[in-house]
Symmetry: C2
Subunit: 229 residues, 2 copies
Amino acid sequence: MVAHGRDVKLRRRPQLSEEVAAHLRERIMSGQVRPGEYLRLEHVAEELGISVTPVREALVALRGEGFVQLQPRRGFIVSPLSRVDVQDVFRVQADIAGELASRAATVITDEQLENLETIQGQLDMLHTTGASVEQEALNHEFHRQINSVSESRKLAWFLATAVRYAPLSFYGEIHGWTRASREDHHAVLDALHKRDPDAARFSMHRHITHAGDLLVEHLDKLGVWSEES
Amino acid sequence: MVAHGRDVKLRRRPQLSEEVAAHLRERIMSGQVRPGEYLRLEHVAEELGISVTPVREALVALRGEGFVQLQPRRGFIVSPLSRVDVQDVFRVQADIAGELASRAATVITDEQLENLETIQGQLDMLHTTGASVEQEALNHEFHRQINSVSESRKLAWFLATAVRYAPLSFYGEIHGWTRASREDHHAVLDALHKRDPDAARFSMHRHITHAGDLLVEHLDKLGVWSEES
DNA sequence: ATCTCAAATATTGTGTCTAATGTTTGATGC
DNA sequence: GCATCAAACATTAGACACAATATTTGAGAT
């Protein structure tokens, strides 16, 4: 039972299918592959220099996330995507994140609050410099902490699937986002400090809505929508 | 052409992995496999008389639905499940179904309304007899119609994933459900007739909440929860 | 001699690949 | 147009490499 040391294996190889899924998500949400297009197993496999098995596995996962549709015996098609669709995803995300923040407000410990303050403090410092990768990580950690406070597994899971619709590097790239985000975060922290569930829900909901609006604008420019009106 | 039938129980029309996924969902939500248990690929494959490939595919899909978790190189574990978890899933389901009903109320056509009335009429007739399989189908169709009126793809998709937490044959088996359902449905129809979004949202939300409460009660008896408190 | 503990070895089971099978689509000939 | 056939491709099976865990073995300490 003795710990065999925490020899950190830095080279922990991620699952191939995970990488493929991330790759395809990115390609879809950046408009490189259009809605209605077929994603051919063999084609993708060849492109990445792997066999079809992990590609198929990735596509099955992506189907579960709503990015592609499976036509049995025919193949995987990129799902239609409209402005309203993305707004809807963020509506769900905002509702659930709000609920989680609300629950967190009633049970959060002083220690957890301090932890959040530390994270936000580091974020605020990075604000001046432009280290967007670390900003991403800290931002993610900030939300992860809040969402884990109430231990609402299923809500957290729903939230996680909604979050996937935002490209990984999105938040670092959007001008003006870091600043708006900072103010939003402080409003959330304030509500948590006061143990005010309604305020926590409201401020978190508003925060996610802000993000969603920016993403829609961003995707607008990329022109990823399937149809226009 | 036709395989020399060994003990072939699985039909060939649907995808194997689909059937496996449904099979495992059912086993999880009926308490036959407990949270924390490993689902071994080969074991499941042998049990169903198929190879491991579609089993793995089904488990990947189930991971996307939150039923199991993947520990890389270790295996698939049945996710924890508490009473609160199921309540949360139904909360999300109720919110989204309410939103979809609300949207439907503002755009539904007379023709679509008449269609719904027909479906509900058939449901009401079956109420006296006990043809639960057909009841299931009609009930499903009733909701499907409403959810498709507003063409909100992503919301409908979220809803679909939440719905999977109810065992397929659940509604037919619960005593008193068909009657309560009938009243709920008529309230929804009434709201749609009046083109009243708020009433549609409210009545649909209540309907789903009713169903959720019954399912929780049902699962309580089965004892599927991972821990008690 | 017995116990402790770690290195060596065996076992189990996933992750990926290759190959066989079946289905769909589109072209070709009638 | 309609049947037939071939190519393309998804789907399933089977095989194997390798990682994670369990078991055994053996050296050193008591």
